[in-house]
């Protein structure tokens, strides 16, 4: 039937129906703020940072009547005497439950927004009092709400007699509600702020305050193994997307009252929760203040995670090098905090940013400290070599192949040129094509669905490579070089650093193709100048090597645990000394004797 209809439509012209196709257009009164945030003439002003939370100030002239802010006074003050109404501030709750509910429904757009639940009930004390629980569907823990909030208020409240002469909200919080985390707020803004985060707001008739019970639950991932920073020895825990779990994972490793967790919010629209963690008697107060300042001064619509936050708070967002250490391992964060660094955690991101960082910290892996010291040092040297190889190997190959044949021993040179003889391209083209296809495989490999992924990786790497060699498109030596470069790039611990060096490699390749080793030297020094110029929260990127800072250099050689007596001096912690000069007191057999008199107590 449908076929027949379509055929008819195709053959016979029919006048089209008067349907206007949907087209997304700018609204008449849309808010397109210019750079100063003042908006178009006639539009209403967007308060910077207010975002989509509905806090739009009215236009100064009041020309736009439609989009004016709904004033809280409209409902809250209804039914009150003028003297009472004056005392109430605009945002504040009234003692009348119905008014509050109406107002809340208005703020939460309730008939439209069907996520919000209003659960009205009666508190079973004498005389009974009406109350309401308001929460977001799916964000709150149902079991906790039913058993920990509603059950005690509705059923268990009738068991005991309330203390006389107390306000109703005090009775609820002190006698009835067993929830462990309760807040009392006066304003609608805080009530709504709690509800949208998954808390339960309790409104009680006759109370001037709302009770916010922490019932945050909902779905979240468990604590699992790290994805990018696996180790063989050491803990296998990684952060997950829940902020509370993340902070707890760090706190699990630092049992100190000095570990501070400051809460902050970023993003005007999404109001993401975050935490700033530091140890207040170690971290430099100036550093903490600066991090706090940068976070507070952010006027940004949306922050999706630490990755997006990083570029908002770092000193040089334009260069490739990462200036924060992003890690998914709580043990690593804990170790950094003890050194005097500051950690920035965001809700919804399983990665934590640690500042300030330096190039050498990015080079280290937590495993260095879980294996024996010489092996740890060896791993670091391997990683540095990996960096050099991933940066320089294709460039050196190009330089040698195009400019400095004399460096290659004759036999090798002959075999290389024999292999290259059939290849029609110059070696630059070869390298460029191979690097490009390697990056292509790498990028595609992330997106290919799980089971096919490794297969395609093998297909890409081996079969394509083999075929390319067989077809004399590239020389076999180049396949080895590109593969080695790729492997080395994966040996770098920090993912951001991997990517940065992946891009830097192309600069080396280009200049090596033009100038040979001279080009490599020029690129090296430019690269070095850029790296020396970068600062991560006021700390030079190459510290403590350049500039040289006195103190232990925990750079390449991983020192013994008892030898690392100082915290990194270049981040200027409050007390640099970690431990006395002799940590292993047991080596002093005679504490009073000649051996133990010296620096033992220092």
């Amino acid at each position: 039937m449908a076929i027949w209809k379509n055929l008819l439509q195709a053959l016979i012209f029919q006048e089209p129906k008067q349907e206007e196709p949907f087209e997304l257009k700018a609204q008449q009164d849309s808010l397109v703020p210019d750079l100063n945030g003042t908006g178009k003439p006639g539009g209403s002003t967007v308060v910077p940072g207010a975002g989509c939370t509905g806090r739009q100030a009215t236009a100064a002239g009041g020309e736009n009547k439609r989009r004016q802010m709904r004033k809280p006074t409209r409902i809250t003050k209804k039914g009150l005497k003028p003297s009472q109404a004056d005392k109430l501030k605009e945002d504040e709750l009234s003692p009348n439950l119905d008014l509050n509910l109406k107002r809340l429904k208005e703020i939460l757009n309730v008939p439209l927004n069907q996520d919000v639940n209003f659960r009205e009930f009666t508190i079973g004390i004498r005389p009974p009092v009406r109350g309401a629980a308001i929460f977001m569907e799916g964000m709150a823990d149902k079991k906790l709400q039913s058993l920990g909030v509603l059950q005690p208020l509705m059923l268990l409240s009738s068991l005991g007699a309330p203390e006389p002469n107390r306000r109703i909200e005090d009775i609820v919080t002190s006698q009835l509600l067993p929830n462990n985390d309760i807040g009392m707020v006066r304003g609608f803004r805080e009530v709504v702020g709690g509800i949208v985060r998954g808390k339960t707001a309790l409104l009680v008739d006759g109370a001037m305050q709302a009770i916010i019970a922490d019932t945050i639950g909902g779905e979240h991932r468990n604590v699992e193994q790290p994805v990018a920073e696996r180790v063989l020895r050491g803990p296998h825990e990684a952060f997950n997307e829940t902020l509370k779990v993340c902070t707890a994972l760090v706190r699990k490793r630092i049992h100190s009252e000095h570990l501070i967790t400051e809460r902050f919010k970023v993003g005007g629209c999404n109001q993401l929760d975050g935490s700033l963690m530091y140890i207040d008697n170690i971290a430099n107060p100036a550093l903490v203040k600066e991090v706090r300042r940068r976070l507070r001064k952010l006027v940004i619509d949306v922050v999706t995670g630490t990755g997006a936050l990083e570029e908002l708070i770092e000193d040089n967002p334009f260069i490739f090098l990462p200036q924060t250490q992003v890690t998914e391992r709580p043990d690593r964060v804990a170790a950094s905090l003890v050194e005097g660094r500051v950690a920035i955690l965001l809700d919804g991101t399983p990665q934590v940013a640690v500042v300030p960082t330096s190039f050498w910290s990015l080079l280290q892996s937590p495993e260095d400290y879980y294996v024996r010291p010489p092996i740890g040092s060896f791993l670091r040297v391997i990683r540095l070599a990996a960096i050099l190889v991933s940066l320089l190997l294709p460039a050196v190959y190009l330089a040698v192949a195009a400019f400095h044949h004399e460096m290659i021993p004759t036999d090798l040179l002959l075999s290389i040129s024999a292999n290259r003889e059939k290849v029609p391209f110059p070696s630059v083209v070869e390298v460029a094509v191979m690097e490009f296809s390697f990056d292509l495989i790498r990028e595609a490999g992330i997106r290919i669905p799980g089971l096919i992924g490794p297969t395609l990786g093998i297909v890409g790497a081996i079969i394509l490579g083999q075929a390319a060699v067989a077809a004399s498109l590239v020389s076999p030596l180049l396949i080895i070089i590109v593969a080695l470069t790729g492997i080395s790039s994966f040996a770098i611990t920090d993912y951001n650093l991997q990517n940065a060096f992946r891009l830097h490699r192309f600069a080396y390749i280009t200049l090596a193709a033009i100038f040979g080793f001279f080009g490599i030297a020029i690129t090296l020094i430019l690269h070095l100048l850029v790296m020396a110029n970068v600062k991560s929260f006021g700390v030079p990127y190459l510290a403590p090597v350049a500039p040289r800072k006195p103190g232990e250099l925990d750079v390449l050689a991983r020192g013994l645990a008892f030898e690392q007596e100082l915290r990194p001096p270049y981040i200027y912690p409050q007390n640099v000394r970690r431990q006395p000069r002799i940590s292993r007191k047991w080596i002093l057999k005679h504490p009073k004797g000649p051996r133990g008199t010296g620096g033992a107590e220092k």
Partner: protein, 373 residues
């Protein structure tokens, strides 16, 4: 007076920068020149010049800078010589460093041409050099110093390592007759060649920017000693490898030495690796020279920012570098200006300033006084 975006630098950074500034002269005709003057005792000429020049530099410049710890040579000249004669001397220093930079750029671009890229036009290499120099100077002394301290061990090793790796070719007979061209000539030439250490001036130019002031002469001694280690060992070991007649004809002895390295068939002809590091060292010399030119000029003109001078001065350096008609002229000019007559800006004028300052009782402000102001 402190310029904007000038930054401060630390002691290790200053040492690294100044040592590279003086030490990279080994890549020029230095060993050949020493062999020319002292024959088989060229290294003795080098040693004498290091001792004389080092001590002169340390005492004259060190005392001058200890007297005026917060001022550069421009302010000292104005303070001591007055408002008219002072700037004349300062402009002399600006020209000195400008010519030094230009000649260094030209000389090493010619060397790279002969060694690496025979078909490349010299301007291409000069432009690339200047590109790096401008970027380095734009980023400032702080960054430059950090990069210098990072590379210094590598450059130092890349200079000394080839000299030791050619040990199979060492021949101690080349060192005899021991006093070469005769004790008088060795010593007199050594004294004259001490002009090279007049380049300790670079430290005097950087000195007011060093964060922690050390003991009076210590910094200068370290720089002079490290440079002397480089220069004397280069002279000594190349004399041991090459017989004098070969040595005095050769304009790039270090390269010849590095080419000789041979350990089996695989480790041979590895000089491009060393040259890469040498280029880095030389680039630091150019960057420091250019930076000092810029900042001295800014100070002479009593301006606040040096960055506007970057491109004009780069263009001037470019043209100056292309002025000499050929490589030999460049080398002769460089030898005449920095090695034969370098004592005038290096020692004579600072000594004059020091004596005049003593006579007129002038003294610079110490950091403590400045804070009180």
């Amino acid at each position: 007076m402190k310029l904007s975006n000038e930054g401060k630098t630390g002691v290790p950074e200053a040492i690294a920068l100044a040592t590279m500034f003086i030490g990279v002269d080994v890549f020029s005709a230095y060993p050949a020149r020493m062999a020319d003057l002292g024959l088989s005792a060229g290294w003795m000429v080098s040693l004498v010049s290091a001792m004389v020049g080092g001590l002169l530099g340390v005492f004259i410049l060190g005392s001058l800078m200890a007297r005026f710890p917060e001022s550069s040579i421009v302010e000292i000249a104005e303070e001591v010589l007055g408002r008219w004669l002072g700037p004349v001397v300062s402009v002399g220093y600006v020209v000195f460093f400008l010519v030094l930079t230009a000649l260094t750029v030209r000389q090493y671009s010619e060397r790279i041409l002969t060694v690496f890229l025979p078909t490349t036009p010299p301007t291409a290499i000069i432009v690339f050099f200047l590109f790096v120099i401008v970027i380095g100077c734009y980023l400032g002394l702080e960054t430059m110093g950090r990069a210098a301290v990072f590379t210094f061990p590598l450059v130092f090793a890349a200079i000394l390592l080839p000299l030791f790796l050619v040990f199979p070719f060492w021949n101690h007979h080349n060192l005899f007759p021991l006093v070469g061209s005769g004790p008088t000539r060795v010593i007199s030439q050594g004294v004259i060649q001490s002009s090279l250490y007049g380049q300790l001036l670079v430290l005097a130019a950087v000195h007011p920017l060093i964060r922690v002031k050390q003991k009076k002469y210590r910094l200068w001694l370290i720089v002079a000693a490290l440079s002397a280690v480089i220069l004397v060992s280069a002279s000594l070991f190349t004399t041991m490898v090459f017989p004098v007649p070969v040595l005095r004809e050769n304009l790039f002895v270090m390269l010849q030495a590095a080419r000789l390295i041979f350990f089996g068939r695989f480790v041979q002809r590895i000089e491009p690796i060393f040259i890469s590091f040498w280029i880095i060292g030389v680039l630091f010399k150019m960057m420091a020279g250019f930076y000092i030119t810029l900042t001295l000029l800014t100070r002479v003109l009593k301006l606040q920012y040096y960055r506007p001078f970057l491109f004009p001065m780069a263009v001037i350096t470019f043209s100056l570098a292309l002025l000499p008609p050929n490589f030999m002229t460049v080398i002769n000019l460089a030898m005449a200006i920095f090695w034969d007559w370098g004592w005038i800006p290096g020692f004579a004028i600072p000594l004059l300033l020091l004596v005049m300052a003593g006579m007129r009782g002038k003294k610079g402000v110490t950091p403590g006084d400045q804070i009180q102001e």
